[in-house]
């Protein structure tokens, strides 16, 4: 479903962010990417939906090459949901308007249809009563669930999560992770940048460890945690698993 082939990315001549990354993600799989800050995790995620231009390699999503000039990038992105560390809800719109904007403007749905669908999704993420509130009136966990609902409203085939719980209070992390665990259970294809190792252990089909733009190690949850092969991975795990 997602094929990443030898992708390299430079921010400028002397600053290489991704170094020859290759990875194949099957339909329905959940892949977790972890690693220290500056290792290129978020950049890799952004390459998948064409938010970042990479100079070398190719990424094929659903048989379509992301950087092919003939690709309709907007259409491609509309089938890939994305969730951000700082939620990035549109502050001048209510939760409902945040969720229905793209279905109305991109999918050209009717207002009724879009709002009905939005309510269904809000119920699924557990906050239908917050529909008419503005982002500033919601807690962090609620904001992130609205952000997930906004992505789901486009009925994406793939969901990308960029550190979705890093900006949350500890008590709110669970409510967001629960939604993500449900999604994984329903067979959504997900790529998740996170340091929530409990989540990785529970749902990840594969865990990737990145450092300095390289993919250092990848493996199933069990292998990754119990028999990490690389010294750098062991060092990283010993620091975050206390």
């Amino acid at each position: 479903m997602i094929e990443i082939k030898n992708v390299s990315l430079w921010y400028d001549k002397n600053h290489q962010v991704l170094n020859d990354i290759s990875e194949t993600i099957q339909r329905g799989q959940t892949v977790v990417i972890c690693g220290p800050s500056g290792s290129g995790k978020s950049s890799l995620l952004r390459c998948i939906n064409g938010l970042e231009y990479f100079q070398k390699g190719d990424i094929i999503v659903n048989g379509v090459s992301v950087q092919d000039p003939d690709t309709n990038i907007h259409q491609l992105r509309s089938n890939i949901g994305m969730v951000f560390q700082h939620f990035e809800l549109y502050p001048h719109m209510t939760a409902m308007e945040n969720i229905t904007l793209a279905p109305l403007r991109v999918r050209k749905k009717s207002k009724n249809e879009a709002e009905k669908k939005a309510m269904e999704i809000l119920e699924r993420v557990g906050i239908p009563e917050q529909a008419l509130k503005y982002p500033a009136e919601l807690s962090g966990g609620q904001k992130q669930r609205v952000a997930i609902a906004r992505a789901l409203a486009m009925e994406p085939k793939i969901m990308l999560f960029d550190e979705p719980t890093s900006a949350l209070d500890p008590e709110m992390i669970k409510e967001v992770l629960d939604v993500m665990i449900d999604l994984a259970g329903e067979g959504m294809t997900m790529v998740v940048v996170t340091h929530e190792m409990g989540f990785a252990r529970e749902v990840a089909h594969e865990i990737i460890f990145m450092d300095k733009g390289r993919m250092i190690e990848k493996g199933s949850g069990h292998d990754f945690f119990n028999h990490p092969k690389n010294e750098r991975t062991r060092q990283f795990l010993s620091r975050i698993l206390i």
Binding site: L51, L89, P91, Y134
Partner: protein
């Protein structure tokens, strides 16, 4: 004749021919400020966009403009537009100007006030744009919105709310700065006050009237803008006027 012997005669404000002079003065102040403000907003927004473009020459041109206009006294700029600018034109153009534009001072005032205020508007606009996080754009793009849609539905309404308070201040400053146009002979309300004083020796009344005109118009604008701010108020965005 000491101050104690001064007899107030407020009728100089409406007596023929001074009443008409005051009305003309007030009207000149208003359209001079409004024309200058229109130039300031159009040029200012363009320069503000130049300053955030990823093209170096545009950024250079933008900051060159801002540094020149912001870091020289407005009075000097006014003299430049009135005395020096015409000399920079080829001779036939100069002659045409002197023959056909009897109120050149007025247009020099509009140009000076407009271009000067533009440099300040540009800075506010730029900081408004920069206040919007990168991921906010990415969030909009990730749902499949086009660049135009992203700016129209997400970025513009967001930036608009950030820049309203500083734009209100700039407009009021622009309006009050228009009084300096009297130094090049524009018959706006301050100049009118001095002019009527020279005939009547009732400068106390005339300058009081001119001050009240500025005060009233500025208060009306401020009130109107705080009404606008309340109308578009959204929790957690701009601070609401009391």
């Amino acid at each position: 004749m000491g101050f104690l012997n001064y007899t107030f005669d407020w009728s100089v404000l409406w007596r023929h021919p001074y009443g008409n002079m005051f009305i003309k003065g007030v009207v000149t102040t208003i359209h001079l400020s409004l024309l200058a403000w229109m130039i300031a907003v159009i040029v200012g927004i363009a320069i503000g966009i130049f300053r955030v473009l990823p093209i170096r020459s545009f950024r250079f041109a933008g900051s060159f403009y801002v540094q020149i206009f912001r870091n020289t006294p407005f009075l000097v700029q006014l003299f430049f537009w009135y005395f020096a600018a015409p000399l920079l034109l080829p001779e036939p153009a100069q002659e045409w100007l002197y023959d056909n534009v009897p109120n050149y001072a007025y247009w020099a005032g509009v140009a000076a006030l407009g271009t000067y205020t533009a440099s300040r508007v540009a800075e506010h606009f730029r900081s408004g744009l920069l206040a919007i996080p990168h991921d906010q754009y990415r969030a909009a793009y990730s749902t499949g919105l086009t660049t135009m849609q992203t700016y129209r539905y997400v970025i513009a309404p967001y930036a608009f709310r950030i820049i309203i308070p500083p734009f209100t201040t700039e407009f009021l400053t622009c309006f009050k700065n228009s009084s300096l146009a009297m130094t090049i002979g524009v018959m706006e309300v301050t100049h009118t006050a001095y002019y009527v004083d020279s005939f009547t020796s009732h400068g106390l009344e005339t300058t009081t009237a001119a001050s009240l005109v500025y005060l009233c118009i500025a208060l009306c604008v401020a009130l109107f803008m705080s009404f606008v701010e309340k109308r578009i108020y959204i929790p957690g965005m701009i601070a609401r006027g009391q």
